[in-house]
C-alpha cells in the first residue's frame, strides 16, 4: 500500500471549515483513498472514500486532483465533537487487505 504523509496536528475553531491534506506520491492506478476518524478510547471509523475528483457525503468532502498524488479531506463547520485523529489511507478497493495506518492528523477544535 502507498505511503501517506499528513500534518501531525491542526487546530481550528467551531464553525470553521477544516481541510486536511494528505500526500501519496506513489499511489497506484488501482488505489483508492480512504479517510478514517478516531476518537479517544474508540476504534477508527470510516469517513469517506474516493478515487478521483470529488466525493461528498453527509460528513465530509474529499477532493482529489487529477494526478491523485494528494487528497484533501474537508470538514464543513466543525464542532467540538470533531476533535479526533484523522487518518488517510491508500489501497485498492475490493482488496480486503490489511489497513496501514500512518501517524494521522490530530485535529483540535476550540470553542
Amino acid at each position: 500500500l502507498a505511503k501517506t504523509t499528513q500534518p501531525i496536528s491542526m487546530d481550528s475553531y467551531e464553525g470553521q471549515e477544516v481541510n486536511i491534506t494528505c500526500s501519496h506520491n506513489n499511489i497506484a492506478t488501482n488505489d483508492y483513498i480512504t479517510w478514517y476518524q478516531q476518537f479517544p478510547s474508540q476504534g477508527p471509523r470510516f469517513i469517506i472514500q474516493g478515487y478521483k475528483t470529488k466525493v461528498t457525503n453527509e460528513v465530509a468532502s474529499l477532493f482529489i486532483p487529477a494526478d491523485r498524488k494528494s487528497s484533501t479531506l474537508s470538514l464543513p463547520r466543525v464542532s467540538l465533537s470533531d476533535t479526533a485523529v484523522y487518518y488517510c489511507l491508500v489501497g485498492a478497493l475490493r482488496n480486503t487487505d490489511k489497513l496501514i495506518f500512518g501517524t494521522g492528523t490530530r485535529l483540535q477544535v476550540f470553542p
Binding site: Y32, T34, S41, Q42, G43, P44, R45, F46, Q49, G91, A92, L93, R94, N95, T96, D97, K98, L99, I100, F101, G102, T103
Partner: protein
C-alpha cells in the same frame, strides 16, 4: 445493527501470565482483522481471517501470539506468556469483504506489569 464488540475493555496482567482477548464481529462479516497500537506507535496490522481461515498473519509479532476463529464467528487472541512490550490497545475490525470499509471495535487496553 450491533457493532464490533471486544472483551475485556481493559486487562492488567503480570509479565509471564496469559491473557485472552475476544472479538465479536458484526453478524455476517466474514472478514475479521486484529490490529494493535503499542505505546506511542502507529496502529499496526496483526492478522486477517476470512471465516475461520487465516488469510494473512504477517503482522503477528512472534509465536507468543495465537489467534483463532473457530466456526468463523467470534475470534480470540491469546498472548502467552505476556511481555512488557505487549502493552497497548488491541483493536478488532470486521468487514463484509470485497470492499475497503472495516468496522472497528472499541479496543482492549492491555497493560503488562
Amino acid at each position: 445493527e450491533a457493532g464490533v464488540t471486544q472483551f475485556p475493555s481493559h486487562s492488567v496482567i503480570e509479565k509471564g501470565q496469559t491473557v485472552t482477548l475476544r472479538c465479536d464481529p458484526i453478524s455476517g462479516h466474514d472478514n475479521l482483522y486484529w490490529y494493535r497500537r503499542v505505546m506511542g506507535k502507529e496502529i499496526k496490522f496483526l492478522l486477517h481471517f476470512v471465516k475461520e481461515s487465516k488469510q494473512d498473519e504477517s503482522g503477528m509479532p512472534n509465536n507468543r501470539f495465537l489467534a483463532e476463529r473457530t466456526g468463523g464467528t467470534y475470534s480470540t487472541l491469546k498472548v502467552q506468556p505476556a511481555e512488557l512490550e505487549d502493552s497497548g490497545v488491541y483493536f478488532c475490525a470486521s468487514s463484509r469483504g470485497r470492499d475497503f470499509e472495516q468496522y472497528f471495535g472499541p479496543g482492549t487496553r492491555l497493560t503488562v506489569t
